[in-house]
């Protein structure tokens, strides 16, 4: 299971850089990168940090950090 999570994290990491090299549009690239951050943070907190076995409130707090930061950044990105 841990190996699969590692592989998924690697793919999610490589995708935005490959898209950047391929010349993907700035807006689409930003959406892709921000979306993949959320996926990676959930995988990392649940499986590597083992928060899936933690009390729900702690698990939620750990998982929510990246999406909250990303949402604010996305809003500011859109406003800019």
């Amino acid at each position: 299971m841990m190996g699969m999570v590692y592989l998924a994290l690697m793919i999610c990491t490589a995708l935005p850089v490959l898209a950047l090299q391929a010349g993907m549009g700035a807006e689409l690239l930003s959406c892709l990168a921000l979306g993949l951050i959320v996926v990676k943070s959930v995988l990392l907190t649940d499986h590597f940090m083992e928060m899936r076995r933690a009390p729900r409130a702690w698990r939620f707090a750990a998982q929510a950090w990246a999406p909250v930061v990303i949402t604010v950044i996305a809003v500011l990105n859109g406003a800019g």
Binding site: T13, L34, M49, M51, A54, A66
Partner: protein
């Protein structure tokens, strides 16, 4: 009926925080600080997008990618070490030393990147982008170095037999700190290197 119910309850694993509560409070404090810094970066970028666009072009996304792979690989090795120690399997010590070695790729990459940018004339005072770039990445780099010290202490203790899997508190606390460093980089890398 009651005995059946109690059997079901006893089979349900109790939810527990991996590691010490104090370490987790420290981790959340760190995450809050990084979160505020990231939002500050995004605010500055929305005010001066041209400077940030030009600044990002001076960076090498492949360096950032290699650093990310190094940190995720180190996290995987640390998580595997925790898993093995809990099960009482051998090899936990070796995995921790491997994690330190792999994470050193990040440290070397960062030093190379700073040197390369400095030679090109970029520093903290160049513009707003590089002020944020150097501050954010150096602040994170200091956390990586502290994480490597923590992993070294864990590896030595596991090697000496101080941790045998019966009490996972110290091992889980150190591992959680390391994963927090990785989690922060997962946001920092695309924010600085990728997003236009």
């Amino acid at each position: 009926m009651n005995s059946q119910a109690s059997t079901v309850i006893s089979r349900t694993p109790a939810r527990a925080l991996p590691g010490d509560v104090a370490v987790w409070i420290f981790i959340f404090a760190e995450l809050a600080v990084f979160g505020i810094l990231f939002i500050g970066f995004a605010v500055a970028r929305s005010l001066d997008p041209e400077t940030f666009h030009l600044g990002r072009q001076a960076l090498h996304p492949w360096t950032g990618l290699v650093n990310t792979i190094a940190l995720i690989s180190a996290s995987y090795l640390v998580a595997s070490a925790v898993h093995r120690l809990r099960l009482g399997e051998a090899g936990s010590n070796r995995l921790l030393w491997s994690a330190i070695a792999v994470s050193s790729i990040y440290s070397c990459g960062k030093v190379w990147e700073y040197g390369n940018l400095y030679q090109q004339g970029y520093n903290l005072g160049t513009d707003t982008f590089f002020m944020f770039y150097f501050f954010l990445t150096f602040f994170h780099f200091m956390h990586v170095l502290l994480g490597q010290v923590v992993l070294t202490v864990l590896a030595v203790k596991v090697g000496r037999g101080d941790y045998d899997g019966s009490d996972m508190n110290g091992m889980e606390s150190g591992a959680s700190y390391w994963h927090m460093v990785d989690l922060v980089w997962l946001v920092l890398f695309p924010l600085v290197y990728v997003i236009a």
